[in-house]
Symmetry: C2
Subunit: 417 residues, 2 copies
């Protein structure tokens, strides 16, 4: 690296002990990541460790997510080389470095720069890059095993079933591979996906991408609970990155049929359009009954404060029934009514202009990490009765197996081969 | 306001002297806004003053911009009441308050909340709300003077002419009115536009909106120069908010034919798609020749550092011609080659998924404030020879007259009536 990239280089001096250990030692406790201060620009989140970063990591402010399909001519060797190249580039970028040693301006005048350069002066900003594999990577729609890895497919990695109220569009759904980039500066996340897409040229191509402009969940007790576009706090009951036993029970897929999934998890992505203008015409009482919480504080309608556990058997004389209505979101989504299932959520708000009626194209890009996709399926089936369905539409859907952490010298997905 | 909105209320305690003066005194020097620290969450930028905020204000991290059309049934009284309602709501939101006193949860259970609530726990985040009027507000496409204000149209407020390489789409162009919301938290900017759209119901409707995820310009010497999606520093030669004489010469339209435009300006908005994948295949030397600056440092190719003035008569033996090529962007856009025209730019990057070929829908949402639209027209015509045109497409265009600052007790645009 040469002179002009001083700002990115200087970030290296700020990694500190945790980052250095993460790089050199190969293993860093996932829990240690959970409570990082989320908003510093110079924070480096270790890329290598027991688990991939970006799962229990304190949720960063911005997301750029991409789903990829392998190209029609790519075979086993192309997939292997792609994963190796992606790993090398991700390891560098998460340290705040350019994508290669030659970077944006160091490769000389006579070739396109290795790095696209728009993050040249930006530090790591807690960038995490998390990789996942979709069902079609193992067996495509025609039943072909394009990469000779059909026997490495976790038996639970199958397309999600249809749900009531699904209005899925192909252009927001599926994919052979996914990359989740989260950072406290949006340009850093966009830069990461753009450069990884560029590296994939000829081997994989972007299927769909999603910009999340603001987080709706928190995985750290140090973070305030953010609000979704319906104005309600979201993620109050989320699993925190420091909740070791909850993570073991609900997130890490250590007992799957595939050893390469040890320390890994499943990722469910749903693009949920929110019918903002309709919601905004609902009176406060009804909004709160639909959600099952009060809007200002976020407390369950059975009483208490934001972090009080909902009491589903509390009767309300005024409501003439349960204080938390039978068809409320909180009741139907609660682990008590779903066999104890909990999900580690990492959703982001999105806003993408407006439709021809002047209504906002906006909503929630729902991301959840689960030990088994069945956790999501059970909750989503339970939500068929949710009155919230009047105000939302699921328009995109994808599922990915997220391999365990990447050890020093290794590449993501090496266990597939 | 009641208890649950403590966080928004607490922001009020943090306004400090500048905010209080802006609110109470009616006038605050525009220049004083230029060098505010840009990134604090509790910063309140005075809404009222000699000029509207959001022009010379140190550029915030995030933008949400909306263009509106008046509804077919709205007349003069509806326009007047809309502008009054918008002014009242904007004054509150820029102080970090809910949109009305009753706000998101204070209006009781039996009506839809006045405020949509997603910014309940967020502070002002330097929110600025800037209003503008399009040519069609004064005379629509059929030549009708719908609001009885045709004689208040500034003579320079006409649709922009066609330029070489324009590929404009109606869905990103035009509008009777515009609102620019800038803030250091994207949810705060989105909340502002959403609530102003809601207030407009029945009187005006959204025509198009644009989310800008990261700034590409700076109007303050305290801000580092950001990079656009081609990886180059953008806005190096921008006018700073503290440059009083430059602002008087190039930005404030104090000599227009309309007194209501005193202290105001013209706003040109252009949605510029950048052909990212094509650009990324260009060798570094050619990228730098196209821009006329080096990529790492941002110095003009005639030598020096980022802030060195370009020397257009320096000869390069290597290039066999001018060091800064004749068809380079810096040369063609420079004031020396455009009758001294300078623009106060306030652009933002955008990324909106990808097209069917997997290419990014990404680029620059160009915003410039000018004393006369002719400044933009001259530069844009000069840029017809710009080799950069191979890598960009203008897909949206709009022009607005931005009235002067709003005095205490007054509403934006009161001078129209």
């Amino acid at each position: 690296m040469t002179g002009p990239r001083l700002s990115r280089r200087s970030a290296l001096g700020l990694i500190g002990a945790a980052g250095a250990a993460g790089v050199a030692g190969g293993f860093t406790a996932g829990a240690a990541r959970g409570d990082d201060a989320p908003s510093t620009t110079d924070l480096v989140v270790p890329f290598r460790g027991k688990h991939q970063a970006g799962i229990t990591t304190a949720v960063q402010q911005h997301l750029y997510f991409a789903s990829f399909d392998m190209t029609s001519t790519a075979g086993r060797e192309e997939l292997k080389s792609l994963l190796a190249d992606w790993t090398a580039a991700a390891a560098r970028m998460t340290r705040g470095q350019d994508v290669t040693d030659e970077g944006a301006v160091g490769g000389g005048p006579y070739k396109p720069p290795d790095d696209t350069g728009e993050a040249l002066d930006l530090q790591a900003n807690a960038l995490t890059i998390t990789f996942g594999f979709g069902p079609t990577l193992f067996e495509d729609a025609d039943g072909r095993d394009r990469f000779g890895i059909a026997d490495r497919r976790p038996k639970e990695l199958v397309e999600l079933p249809s749900f009531a109220f699904d209005l899925l569009e192909d252009r927001f759904s599926g994919g052979d591979l996914c990359i989740q980039a989260c950072a406290n500066d949006p340009q850093v996340a966009v830069h990461a996906i753009r450069n990884l897409s560029r590296i994939a040229f000829g081997r994989a191509q972007v299927r769909w991408t999603q910009l999340g402009y603001g987080r709706t969940s928190t995985t750290s007790k140090a973070q305030a609970t953010p609000r979704n576009l319906f104005g309600f706090k979201d993620g109050t009951a989320n699993i925190f990155g420091s909740d070791g036993s909850d993570l073991a029970t609900s997130v890490w897929a250590d007992d799957s049929d595939q050893p390469w999934l040890d320390g890994g998890t499943f990722l469910v992505a749903r693009k949920i359009q929110m019918l903002i203008e309709s919601w905004d015409r609902v009176r406060l009482e009804e909004q709160e009954a639909i959600i099952g919480r009060d809007k200002g504080e976020g407390a369950p309608l059975s009483g208490g404060t934001e972090f009080t556990e909902p009491k589903f058997d509390v009767f309300s004389t005024k409501a003439g029934g349960p204080a938390i209505p039978m068809d409320s979101h909180v009741r139907l989504a609660h682990p008590d009514h779903n066999g104890g299932a909990r999900m580690l959520r990492r959703g982001y708000n999105f806003v993408e202009g407006n439709n021809d009626l002047g209504q906002l194209n906006a909503g929630l890009f729902f991301l959840a990490f689960v030990r088994s996709p069945q956790q999501f399926i059970d909750v989503q089936r339970s939500l068929a009765k949710d009155t919230l369905n009047e105000y939302i539409r699921h328009i995109g859907s994808a599922i990915f197996a997220v391999p365990g952490g990447i050890r020093a010298g290794d590449s993501v997905g090496s266990g597939l081969f």
